[in-house]
Assembly symmetry: C3
């Protein structure tokens, strides 16, 4: 049961690769994402048991304070998030309302997404990662308006104002918008 994930987001591509190599050697973790992201950053996300992920991320952070943009460790993470990295979604069907969240950094966005999925009765239908949107993360969820609102309140509890740039709720999305959203 690999249910922890951890991430390191670097402002240097070369150093990011170097540290990524170190952490997979040091700890018993598996890579689920390891790539150059916009605009010139490097992101590695690993999964494993709690102890291994902690070891990997702590080691990475201790090596590269200067070039670290952001990081996280998430335990008992929603499996939906791990699937989204493989571009797998249980369903793309929109139920009721839509909620969209955009954060300035990828790591922050994943932490917010995990919180929403745990706290409220919504489904993830899309996760857009950084590419061509200046390193932002955007995720789209669906569910009853009240559940989305509750989820957004949870985000406000854990993120500061300048960590996420905006959220939106669309109560009953038009057919045209649905077509372009999914």
């Amino acid at each position: 049961m690999n249910r922890s994930i951890g991430a390191l987001e670097f402002r240097s591509i070369s150093k990011g690769i170097e540290i990524s190599d170190q952490i997979v050697k040091k700890a018993n973790v598996e890579i689920i994402y390891c790539r150059t992201i916009c605009p010139g950053k490097f992101l590695i996300i690993v999964t494993g048991d709690e102890g291994a992920v902690d070891e990997a991320i702590d080691h990475g952070k201790s090596q590269v304070a200067r070039i670290l943009v952001d990081s996280f460790k998430l335990h008992a993470v929603s499996p939906v998030i791990i699937d989204a990295f493989k571009n797998k979604y249980v369903t793309k069907e929109i139920i009721d309302a839509i909620g969209v969240v955009e954060t300035n950094k990828v790591c922050t966005g994943i932490v917010a997404l995990d919180r929403v999925l745990k706290a409220s009765d919504v489904r993830l239908i899309k996760m857009q990662l950084a590419q061509c949107i200046s390193g932002r993360l955007v995720f789209t969820i669906t569910g009853p308006v009240s559940s989305i609102e509750y989820g957004f309140l949870e985000i406000k509890n854990i993120l500061s104002e300048n960590e996420y740039s905006n959220t939106a709720i669309i109560p009953s999305p038009s057919k045209e918008i649905k077509k372009y959203l999914i």
Copy 2:
């Protein structure tokens, strides 16, 4: 005869989606472009009759002054522009000279393109939209040098200095450049 188009360019992806949904519900318009663009902006372009497009764009603008980057309403728009959004061009053949225009924002670029197509005897052979060029728009036209020059004068009449970044005229393009341009 859907010959008006209107656009809204937002600095927030989530709010952009929200407002896009509102305007297609409010007015009888059809979406021709609705997408995240570089670097982290959102652009919607709709078409319909004059009244519907005006209603859609006016409503959108009234909702989101804070996150609006740019917008336009173009009536009796050149059908060439609508085709270009579908990546359709009457011809890619270069006749005589080439003119290239780049603007800092997509909306400005489309307004300039419409003006050029209406004012002078040139053909559009390429329109590049924002992706990976920091939200700019670049369009390439072909025709006699004098027609391109006349078209560029028209652009200068409607845009301020800082709205477009550069223009270029290539009187008799070399074979090598043609190969890379189209």
Copy 3:
């Protein structure tokens, strides 16, 4: 034996196309790269004999000081670099260690790469050009640690601190990292 290359990197797409056309008309050179790059710049790289490349680049520089980001002329250039522009590599096999270099501008990166390939016993396994990484160049080489270190020293001799952003050496890369690197 076309063994010289030269490049011009512009901050304007339209002017970049204009000058590119001029230089291929003026000098007997062949285009090996001619494209819009992130974030809104234009890059042309030409090859030919030494005199022709000099003529092309000197002419280009004399026309556009204001919009020129960077340029180079490289004589007796490593053929590996010309192949890399065509996405051809002798091998993608990793021998011993890996070295990664990232530079802030494409031109600087190619000059550094040429120096490394000439000075030390390493092989190029990947060259990433600008797209979605804010105009940077990243290259990955493989060989013995000592050769990579020697190559990096050579880079330090020719580039100033702020011309390259980082380098990294991975002595014995893990299987997982290799999978994501190539």
